[in-house]
């Protein structure tokens, strides 16, 4: 068509309109998060996570009692007006302990995402981008780590470092590195031959710049879903290790340790197990729903179909 013709003007206007639309369209990540928020499951997950995070942060303000204070003479009470969720075998308020018990779980989850996720993604990026010997060495290292059952790996690390919340976080972070590393590597393998990567190299960008400023943003979406799943795994792993006495040490409350302590009282005083168990289950449910919603939000077929 000739420039200046009517059809050319219409075509030109369409291009301009599309450019304007692209300029004002939300960032893909923001759009995905908005889709997550609008998804009922995602909303539920975010709500649960938000409530528990707020409760953990505001624990000193909202807890009716100090969670480690033992109220003598008030042991093994059921829910009542003074202690809303009852008391444990040493007279400690269960509601306060459940609230404070959120802290180890959430702190561990956050540390695992940051440390384990960070190490895994970086390792996967490097392996996928450079390939060759670097890829071979890192992948064999991941294979070796996969050979260990995660809980056993946790035992070994905690045996070396001693029990405690931080040590548990390190142990779980190390256990998730190969999982995230492999995911990151597979995404990078797909992206590294793209035109924009070539273009970036042609402009003289170094490998680190290309990896972190060009490849990573385009590969981050599936990793976010995995990170949400990793958070759920971390919470459960922390509770499991605390249940075994390897995590948060008394008197600091932890849901897993509370479940362990409640075993001797299951028959007569089941609320000691129900309270931390329900909250732990809620958090895990919320994180799983959130991961599901994120997966749907980042699904390219749904995105392109306008869902």
């Amino acid at each position: 068509m000739a420039v200046g013709s009517a059809s050319g003007i219409v075509a030109g206007r369409a291009v301009v309109a599309e450019a304007a639309a692209l300029k004002h369209s939300p960032h893909p990540l923001n759009a995905a998060f908005e889709r997550t928020w609008r998804n009922p499951l995602g909303f539920f997950g975010l709500l649960i996570l938000g409530v528990l995070v707020l409760a953990a942060i505001a624990a000193p303000l909202i807890s009716p009692y100090d969670p480690i204070v033992q109220h003598q003479g008030k042991e093994l009470l059921g829910p009542n007006s003074q202690f809303w969720l009852g008391t444990d075998e040493l007279g400690r308020d269960l509601l306060s302990r459940v609230i404070y018990g959120a802290r180890p779980s959430l702190v561990v989850a956050l540390m695992v995402v940051v440390i384990g996720g960070g190490l895994g993604i970086v390792a996967g990026l490097v392996a996928g981008y450079f390939g060759g010997l670097v890829n071979a060495v890192l992948m064999r290292l991941f294979d070796a780590m996969f050979a260990f059952p995660p809980i056993l790996l946790g035992f070994v690390i905690i045996a070396a470092l001693g029990p405690g919340t931080t040590q548990v976080a390190y142990a779980i972070a190390l256990a998730v590195v190969p999982t995230l590393g492999r995911v990151a590597r597979s995404l990078v393998l797909k992206e590294r031959h793209r035109d924009y990567v070539l273009a970036a190299r042609c402009t003289g960008a170094g490998s680190a710049r290309v990896m972190f400023l060009h490849v990573l943003p385009n590969a981050v979406s599936p990793m976010i879903v995995n990170l949400a799943l990793i958070m759920g795994f971390s919470v459960l792993a922390e509770a499991s290790l605390a249940f075994l006495g390897l995590g948060t040490q008394p008197p600091t409350p932890s849901w897993g340790a509370m479940l362990n302590d409640s075993r001797a009282y299951l028959r007569n005083d089941p609320w000691m197990a129900i309270c931390p168990g329900v909250v732990l289950a809620l958090l895990l449910l919320g994180l799983n729903y959130l991961a599901d919603a994120l997966r749907e939000a980042f699904d390219p077929r749904r995105v392109n179909a306008g869902f």
Partner: protein
């Protein structure tokens, strides 16, 4: 057609279902627990209930037959007859004599005995016609062999075997033990000297004694099977055809199995014991003192606990009342002394002399020069829920004194290694045994109480006076002087404070009502040859 495969659940429906489920759970948690029925179990004179007697008032007659299924939380350590054997395995062996519950010596393999007036020799006249399970006849050579073996083996807790400078066997049924010092506590030694058939005693896979039950099989960490000794020297006994001891280390699993009918007798956690105690139609609780006691020890070589004055201050810092009433549910009584009330060394005033008072403890620590924050580990076995709970009580109370305790529950092997080899830097929370015997014996045999080689690293030169005192307590034959020595031993314990007593332990056994005739011995076991099944 609608099938499970074609059913679709909308998100709203799923959320509604989850909310309904959570609400149901919350309602269940808030529901009041039904009050326990009042306890109606009758008790015999010894404090142990007698099943069936409450209903009819008549004593049922023993019946022969049946295999007792015993649920144990610990396994047999080894088949060697000269180590601690456990409740069931003891029945494979007899001893020369045994105490009754009144601490009176009763004949067993020895029919009679003559004690020299200076207590430096004892002559036993053996029961004739007693045979080991392999048919060999019991004779004086076998008795001598067993005593000498116990003397020569390390770590048997039968160190008293070294008392005997000679063991004479003038004939087949006479044994004379001679010592260079008076041995008024000799029968405490014989209470634990199992008589095994000499050719099998060193065999790790064999167990041959003269006892009411014969060894059949031991599956480590699983079960121990015994069968009736049809040729037992006590005519008509045992009543049972056999005993099968199953090892269940998980306390909750033990209770579940017991209530499901897998065991006739079981050692169950205190909370379940209290609950089942209130069901007399189905269960019969047994409590007895086996000489165990609970205590807190500390490493007496690690500052500040190498300072006796600092240790004395801690006598006020241990809340024994809470241990006995809250954690042990009133099954035990608080005491700074390890002795049961039936012990000649029990002293009510001394037992209650150090009531829980953190202000006094703080003042004592200050007077001892212990200022500034202190830290320490607390080592305990991880399979004891009561000790683990009390460790948190100690942690909370000691924190108020500026002592930060780090709790370190250990598996049994690690715990024993740490405690027996003094590898801990703080405290150990556990117990001791042999307090049912003469205090002189307890201070010799019990690793917690011993003034040489104890778990608290209480050693020379600090223990010199204590060693001398215990030595005199094991050789003094004058009853009046012995009584004074008991008081001196208590004073020594409360002065040196290498352990802090919490309470004498009340051992518990829960049985179904079809088990009768359970009676305790003074060597931490029951007289299973007198038990029978209805």
């Amino acid at each position: 057609m609608t099938t499970l495969a074609t059913l679709k659940l909308s998100r709203r429906s799923a959320l509604r279902l989850v909310a309904a489920g959570l609400g149901t759970v919350a309602l269940a948690a808030c529901a009041p627990i039904a009050p326990a029925p009042a306890a109606t179990v009758s008790t015999s004179a010894g404090g142990n209930p007698t099943p069936g007697q409450a209903a009819t008032g008549a004593t049922p007659q023993p019946k022969s037959g049946g295999t007792l299924r015993y649920g144990s939380d610990v396994d047999v350590n080894r088949l060697d007859p000269h180590f601690r054997l456990g409740d069931v395995y003891y029945t494979v062996y007899d001893r020369l004599t045994q105490y009754d519950v009144n601490h009176t010596v009763q004949p067993m393999l020895a029919e009679s005995w003559d004690i020299a007036t200076d207590f430096m020799s004892i002559k036993f006249n053996l029961r004739k016609g007693v045979t080991f399970h392999n048919g060999a006849e019991l004779d004086s050579a076998a008795v001598k062999f067993n005593s000498e073996r116990a003397r020569d083996l390390p770590n048997t807790q039968l160190d008293e075997a070294k008392w005997w400078t000679s063991i004479e066997t003038p004939d087949k049924y006479t044994v004379i033990f001679r010592s260079d010092k008076p041995r008024p506590l000799a029968f405490d030694f014989f209470e634990f000297l199992n008589i095994a058939e000499p050719t099998s005693a060193g065999d790790p896979l064999k167990a041959v004694g003269t006892g009411p039950f014969k060894f059949v099989e031991w599956k480590q960490n699983d079960s121990l099977t015994l069968t009736k000794n049809a040729n037992y020297w006590q005519s008509g006994k045992p009543y049972l055809d056999g005993i099968v001891m199953s090892v269940v280390t998980n306390p909750q699993a033990m209770t579940t199995q017991f209530e499901a009918g897998s065991h006739d007798v079981a050692i169950i956690p205190v909370t379940d014991f209290i609950r089942l105690r209130d069901q007399p139609a189905s269960y019969a609780p047994y409590t007895f003192s086996a000489g165990n006691f609970s205590c807190l020890g500390m490493n007496c070589q690690v500052p500040p606990w190498d300072n006796k004055q600092a240790r004395q201050a801690l006598l006020y810092a241990v809340d024994r009342g809470r241990w006995a009433t809250t954690i042990q549910h009133d099954l035990e009584f608080p005491s700074t002394l390890p002795w049961p009330k039936t012990s000649p060394a029990y002293d009510d005033a001394r037992a209650n002399a150090f009531q829980f008072d953190l202000d006094k403890a703080a003042a004592g620590l200050k007077a001892a020069g212990v200022t500034g924050p202190q830290t320490g580990d607390v080592i305990m076995q991880n399979n004891n829920a009561e000790l683990n709970a009390f460790a948190q009580v100690l942690q909370s109370d000691f924190a108020k004194l500026g002592i930060t305790l780090t709790l370190k529950p250990q598996d049994v092997a690690s715990y024993l290694d740490l405690v027996n080899n003094w590898k801990y830097k703080g405290f150990w929370l556990g117990g001791g045994s042999f307090a049912q015997l003469d205090p002189g014996t307890a201070f010799t045999k019990s690793r917690a109480l011993s003034v040489t080689g104890n778990s608290s690293a209480f050693t020379a030169p600090a223990n010199a006076a204590a060693v001398d005192l215990v030595g005199r307590a094991t050789t003094e034959i004058d009853p009046a002087k012995r009584k004074q020595l008991y008081a001196d031993l208590n004073n020594m314990l409360l002065d040196e404070v290498y352990i802090i007593g919490m309470s004498p332990t009340t051992n518990r056994l829960m049985a179904t009502t079809k088990v009768h005739g359970i009676a305790p011995t003074l060597h931490s076991a029951q007289k299973w040859w007198e038990a029978w099944l209805a």
